[in-house]
């Protein structure tokens, strides 16, 4: 019997990453798997107002801090939500407003800095435990993230390949998604996704005993229900109107291959469990902004899932 712990969509949250690294010991899991979308969505400017004073606007509330302690505390608050603090001045802010390319550069630098810190933390925390983290950046993660993950000793980049887990189960993984309204870093058409999946599935020795760690959920699995948006990206009917946004190519691949387990994310509100034929598909969802690590513990037996549970850590 092998116990795996899977979480996903932690979006830059330091708290969630620390909890994830501690989850193996906490839940007595043998294997840690992290789904895609590791990186945060917002940079919060800490605007130097002269002397030791900084002005920060977090979640539309203005905070003025003037001591080192307050500044450190504020940075922690910003990081706890997965956002990136950026020390700046009023003049630079004015420049940045006119220069979106420069904002992108800052974003990338902040994102990569945190990913490097995370890999260092993983190497420290997992050293000597025998535990390996398998991770697969998602559609929101820049390409540059991969190289940093690859350099880690304890975190293995699992994108687009077959990984043999300690339990003897093969796992295919991809953070690429079908098209989204946001034109994110790793998204492509369904026929391209099919090619991607087929290439990995063809390498599986025992497909029915495998794990599909695919960031996007399968279409119409109830794990992929998201608010329907209008042309201005405004939720229709105050978010009451939901529609399936998962991948049709993935659904077909699961229907045809019938792997043991599907591990998904992408749709934070899509927390749940679904069966497609014999395959158990799980999306643990995400509450990264609140520092809550949603996940799932799956106990794998010989050619079957013995048990599973969704966790709220």
């Amino acid at each position: 019997m092998t116990t795996i712990f899977f979480a996903t969509d932690i979006h830059g949250s330091d708290i969630c990453w620390s909890k994830f690294l501690n989850a193996g010991k906490f839940y007595n899991a043998d294997q840690l798997i992290l789904g895609g979308d590791m990186t945060g969505k917002a940079v919060v400017p800490f605007v130097h107002m002269g002397g030791s004073k900084y002005r920060i606007t977090l979640l539309e509330q203005v905070f003025d801090v003037s001591t080192d302690e307050e500044l450190t505390d504020m940075k922690k608050r910003v990081r706890s939500r997965g956002y990136y603090p950026y020390m700046t001045t009023p003049d630079e802010i004015t420049e940045l407003e006119k220069d979106p390319d420069r904002v992108s550069e800052i974003f990338l630098a902040e994102v990569l800095k945190v990913v490097e810190q995370w890999m260092d933390l993983a190497d420290k925390k997992l050293a000597g435990t025998g535990m390996t983290v398998y991770c697969c950046p998602g559609n929101d993660d820049m390409d540059e993230v991969d190289a940093i993950v690859q350099a880690s000793k304890s975190v293995v980049l699992a994108e687009s390949r077959v990984t043999m887990l300690n339990s003897g189960h093969e796992m295919i993984a991809s953070g690429w998604s079908n098209r989204t309204p946001w034109d994110t870093h790793r998204e492509e058409d369904e026929d391209q996704l099919k090619v991607r999946y087929d290439a990995m599935i063809a390498q599986l020795k025992d497909p029915r005993n495998s794990i599909f760690n695919i960031h996007v959920p399968p279409y119409k699995s109830n794990l992929d229900e998201a608010a329907e948006l209008d042309e201005n990206l405004r939720p229709k009917m105050a978010g009451q109107a939901l529609k399936p946004v998962g991948s049709t190519a993935l659904r077909k691949a699961i229907e045809e291959t019938q792997p043991l387990l599907g591990l998904h994310g992408h749709i934070h509100e899509g927390r749940g469990v679904s069966r497609i034929g014999e395959t158990l598909c799980i999306n643990p969802g995400s509450m990264y902004e609140q520092g809550t690590l949603l996940g799932t513990i799956v106990r794998l037996g010989k050619r079957k899932v013995e048990d599973y549970v969704l966790t709220t850590g």
Partner: protein, 541 residues
């Protein structure tokens, strides 16, 4: 000056429309179904109806603040179940969520059915000339039970159609229903008591075969039944005693709360407050306008007396069949002011949309809670099964429908005194709300990191977090309601400790929830999964 830079990333949507949120919240505190249904039952109070409407709305505004704040702190989490589980623990969260959002909805089914027959079936059949079948629905237990079964069928169809389709039905129903309400108010404001009296006698005779002198006979029956509730006025003490009945109608603006939003922050708090708050305010105002229009043309005394005459018979306090053999539905009475059949049909058809746009709420929350409990392994996985072809949550629906049929049977045929349990439907949900409110009050102190990095961290009253202040006010209001319902010192509500059926029914709900929680917890532990641990917070360091 920019205060935030966001990048292209999944899920970064713009704010939803406050108008849309307003519509769903307004439908949750439904003036025509819940409002008129409960107003007609409130005939024996000394406090003024309008005063009770306004005072209860003031307290319920703090409910709006509590829920909007919790949504801002923990958005997209699924609501009461998660909030309570995270702050008060898994057992409390589960027991209060399944009783308040699942089990007690079984009792709501015959109530929805009762409103279906009175607001949809009987008026439409009456206007269309189907007198016998209209009277069968209105006045027989078989008719009432059939209306409950039809309600179950309609709601099940709406669930099968999915949330997206139902949201559209709700929006259409809002505009159609609002048009109908405006016509009703216009008819009442333009009519006169003499015209109403003549119209009632003539139309009720042709539609339902009533005898001459209907108006006077109904008024006499009402007086005999003890109809005294005034339109307005009364001291604060007697007005407060009206409120535990009034909240059957207006305790629910939070059902329309929107759980979306990311990165923006305080805007979502304000938008949710606006959506729910405006719905509460506008509904209260519309209720006052409608009651004023009723008073002008139907006459306040007759309105209260007709309700008393109906419920005195329906609740079995008298064997004398009301002179008006159908529920005194104000929209139908307004339609009596015209002899134009098309206008009459238009009025009752448009007003029926208030029911259709609202009815699926009886199961929507329940299916979500059943799914969440199954994912937490507190119910078998099979209850969350969804039919692949139709997308219908078949087993979750069965867990709603089957017990509802049994409860509807007991209620409609008044077995085991079930017809006295109407207000239990509100009490059990109020207990769930109290759990959430306590979570809100203590959250800034028990989860300081979560609170301090939330969009509401800077909203304080005299240095105390706004969410805690609003929680204490709304929580005190709920405690007052629970005290009145349970101990009922003035004998006004009929569901307290002297009503054995009520006590047993409610305790059975909580006992069943506790048995499921602790039973499944023990079972999962025997299989190697500690459910206590999977809901515990993982250490960060």
């Amino acid at each position: 000056m920019s205060n935030l830079f966001v990048r292209k990333a999944t899920g970064l949507v713009r704010s939803w429309s406050v108008m849309d949120a307003f519509i769903y919240a307004l439908f949750s505190i439904n003036l025509i179904t819940l409002g008129l249904y409960s107003f007609s039952q409130m005939y024996s109070f000394e406090g003024g109806m309008v005063n009770a409407l306004i005072i209860s709305a003031i307290f319920i505004f703090f409910e709006v603040v509590v829920y909007a704040a919790l949504i801002a702190v923990m958005p997209r989490s699924g609501g009461d179940y998660v909030w309570q589980s995270r702050i008060l623990g898994g057992a409390v969260g589960f027991i209060l969520a399944v009783t308040g959002w699942w089990f007690i909805l079984w009792l709501w089914v015959p109530l929805y059915g009762d409103m279906f027959r009175h607001i949809v079936l009987v008026p439409i059949l009456g206007v269309l000339g189907a007198k016998d079948i209209a009277l069968w629905f209105a006045g027989t237990q078989n008719g009432a039970f059939t209306a409950s079964l039809l309600t179950l069928a309609i709601v099940s169809i709406f669930i099968m159609l999915g949330m997206k389709t139902y949201a559209r039905i709700q929006k259409f129903s809002f505009y159609g229903g609002m048009l109908g309400l405006l016509i009703v108010i216009a008819l009442l404001l333009m009519g006169s008591p003499e015209a109403f009296k003549a119209g009632l006698d003539a139309n009720a005779a042709s539609m339902f075969g009533t005898e001459a002198g209907l108006y006077d006979a109904t008024a006499a029956l009402g007086v005999e039944a003890g109809a005294i509730t005034p339109f307005s006025g009364g001291g604060l003490a007697v007005v407060f005693l009206v409120i535990p009945y009034m909240v059957f109608f207006n305790l629910w603006p939070n059902w329309g709360a929107t759980l979306y939003g990311e990165v923006r922050g305080a805007t979502d708090f304000k938008r949710n407050m606006a959506g729910m708050g405006w719905a509460l305010g506008v509904t209260t105002l519309l209720a006052i306008i409608l009651l004023f229009a009723i008073r002008k043309t139907i006459g306040w005394e007759f309105y209260v007396q007709s309700g008393a005459a109906w419920w005195n018979y329906a609740w079995g306090y008298t064997d004398v069949i009301p002179a008006l053999p159908v529920w005194p539905y104000p929209a139908l009475m307004a339609a009596f002011l015209t002899t134009n059949k098309f206008v009459q049909f238009l009025v009752v058809a448009l007003m029926s949309l208030w029911w259709f746009g609202w009815c699926a709420t009886v199961f929507l929350s329940s299916t979500r809670v059943i799914f969440a409990a199954a994912f937490d392994r507190l119910l078998p996985e099979s209850v969350a099964k969804v039919d692949e072809r139709t997308g219908t949550p078949v087993n979750a629906l069965l867990l709603m429908v089957v017990p509802s049929v049994i409860v509807a049977y007991l209620f409609n045929y008044n077995l085991l005194n079930f017809q006295t349990l109407t207000l239990c439907s509100t009490l059990v949900i109020a207990v769930t709300f109290l759990g959430t409110t306590i979570s809100a009050i203590i959250m800034p102190y028990t989860k300081p990191d979560l609170y301090r990095s939330s969009p509401i961290a800077q909203y304080n009253v005299l240095g105390i977090p706004l969410i805690s202040v609003a929680g204490v006010i709304f929580g005190s209001f709920l405690v007052f309601l629970l005290y009145q319902w349970i101990f009922d010192p003035n004998g006004l509500y009929g569901i307290g400790i002297t009503n054995t059926s009520s006590v047993i029914y409610m305790l059975a709900n909580y006992a069943l929830a506790a048995v499921i929680y602790f039973g499944f917890k023990a079972y999962r532990k025997s299989k190697g999964i500690d459910l206590g641990k999977v809901q515990a917070e993982i250490p960060v360091e």
